[in-house]
Subunit: 331 residues, 2 copies
């Protein structure tokens, strides 16, 4: 086993105050490793970076088609959104179209990250509902699939048909038997794979061609939806949204909790998967930006890039006290 | 140089999803290392874990005495508080006693971490003031020292007499020449030392005896103030506050940004300093709890301990999805 390698440093004045280590892999259309840092065989939970895999059965089953889901719906199915109005309005309408309500969700409620939405709830003395959960689009997708197939309401149970379909798609596209799962923040099972398996899956998304198979057509619809609606996949100011907009060619990006990040590069038929071992999101964001710069799809000096890579750290009086930067070996 | 060692693991289902590495040292009254993990000579910025060192000139100069500062004031001078009413009321009164106002602070403003105080500001449509800054007690101490000595208002400048006094105290008690400094979140310089230097400083606090010297008397007053007012040093629910209350003997605890943590154990004349290299606060909290359990001053099964060490991770529906736990080598 290769130890994780240094990936991102947090500088303060003359000192590298903190350092994040991790593993990363870039895969090609054949699923082979083009470049790797650390241990590609490390077993990972991709968390929300697996949402486009969890959305495959929704599209492949015909449920998306039958319910006339648009690219906006599919972007939300792949999203970890901020709970801003643009997200909750659309998820609410989707639920209504299904003839369902917030109570049919199994994701749990949490305060939206979007400050406007959050402060509005606080001012009104209201509690958030499940629609505000950053995973509510994924869950609307699960509900759509369950309704289409006539399956029962407890769609997050690992033995439920929805999750069995997700596991099958996950194992097929990662090319591995999943060694197990954890329960995610939103209560759905999150299947494990090697980091290489996640890189392979992302490369297969990138290399998919519409019409070649139900799987490939679904993959194309999903990454196209993500790229068409970067604001729905995360939200204003977030790395996924800002970096997708900044890339010089179409690239789908998706973060996952505990510092996971993936990229789908359809033009080059490449996939990236990375995990910062300590779960530090700031380092996952800096590292994915660095790898996109390395591949030439993102400018190092783009204002969006500079929010996450070589980003100044400022204090409460706006004084620049340090910087977050990638280690040289990533560039 | 010794590499950092694994200290805290984040488990989800059957997998160690994330792992935090760090360095830790336990020192005795002579400043010698009793136990160490990783590299004791690693250079660190102790951040807010150095607040009791930054408060030494306040007491040693006679400024604290002249302004009749109580143990509450001194606990706040060493605090990273939540900006709850119990903190801001006392800091406000302290400022008024000095004949100064919020505008005299140089720490900058940020939203209080205390949810009641924060939500009250949001409901009232008000911005936080500098008093809400978690470091406002330290800054009130700086202002008291500057006023007592007749020094100018820009007390956070590295060349200001307040900071020169802090540097001198810092170097004397760590037993090292500081190799440099960073500017902290609150705009004051934060001096670097080796981790061993910080452990040595904490042991010297622990071994100090009232009346033996101005330095030792000041050290005793400061750790006694912290232990007397754990709620002022941090706030309800916070690791410093909860673990100080849970310890079976008097122990002063103080966290610092980027995952620093120190402990002063006067009964045993021991000091602890630790740094999680990736800046992950959850791991610094788990690790300090583990070392206190190791030393026998904290029960592993105390409810407060279990909030930070072997602490269940629950999701948005209250389902237990994992655990944060120390590695065996700490225990």
């Amino acid at each position: 086993m290769t130890e994780p390698v240094k990936m991102t440093e947090i500088w303060r004045g003359p000192l590298a105050e903190s350092v994040h280590r991790g593993h990363a892999v870039i895969c090609d259309a054949a699923g082979e490793i083009v470049d790797a840092w650390g241990d590609p065989e490390t077993v990972v939970l991709p968390r929300s970076s697996a949402k486009m895999l969890q959305a495959l059965p929704l599209v492949e089953s015909g449920a998306a088609e039958a319910h006339r889901l648009t690219a906006e719906h599919l972007a939300l199915a792949c999203a970890s959104h901020e709970g801003a109005e643009i997200h909750t309005d659309r998820v609410g309408a989707w639920l209504a179209d299904l003839g369902l309500s917030d109570d049919d969700f199994r994701c749990g409620a949490h305060m939206p990250k979007d400050s406007e939405a959050r402060n509005a709830l606080i001012r009104a003395g209201k509690e958030p509902c499940q629609m505000h959960n950053n995973c509510s689009g994924k869950h609307a997708g699960f509900l759509t699939l369950a309704k289409h197939m006539g399956w029962g309401p407890d769609y997050v149970e690992p033995e439920h048909e929805v999750q069995k379909a997700c596991l099958q798609a996950f194992e097929e596209i990662t090319g591995e038997t999943s060694p197990g799962f954890g329960i995610d923040g939103c209560s759905a099972p999150n299947f494990a794979s090697s980091l290489h398996g996640m890189g392979r899956a992302m490369a297969r998304f990138a290399a998919a061609e519409d019409g070649r198979s139900a799987r490939e057509s679904a993959a194309v619809r999903l990454w196209q939806a993500m790229i068409a609606h970067p604001d729905l996949v995360a939200g204003e100011g977030r790395a996924c949204t800002e970096l997708m907009r900044a890339c010089k060619e179409p690239v789908a990006l998706k973060t996952g909790a505990e510092a996971f990040f993936i990229a789908i590069l359809p033009t080059r038929k490449l996939g990236i998967a990375l995990k910062i071992v300590d779960g530090g999101t700031r380092a996952a964001e800096c590292t994915i930006a660095a790898l996109l710069v390395r591949l030439g799809v993102l400018d190092a000096d783009h204002p969006a890039t500079r929010k996450f890579m070589n980003a100044p750290i400022t204090n409460w009086r706006g004084i620049e006290t340090g910087m977050i930067k990638p280690v040289d070996s990533l560039l």
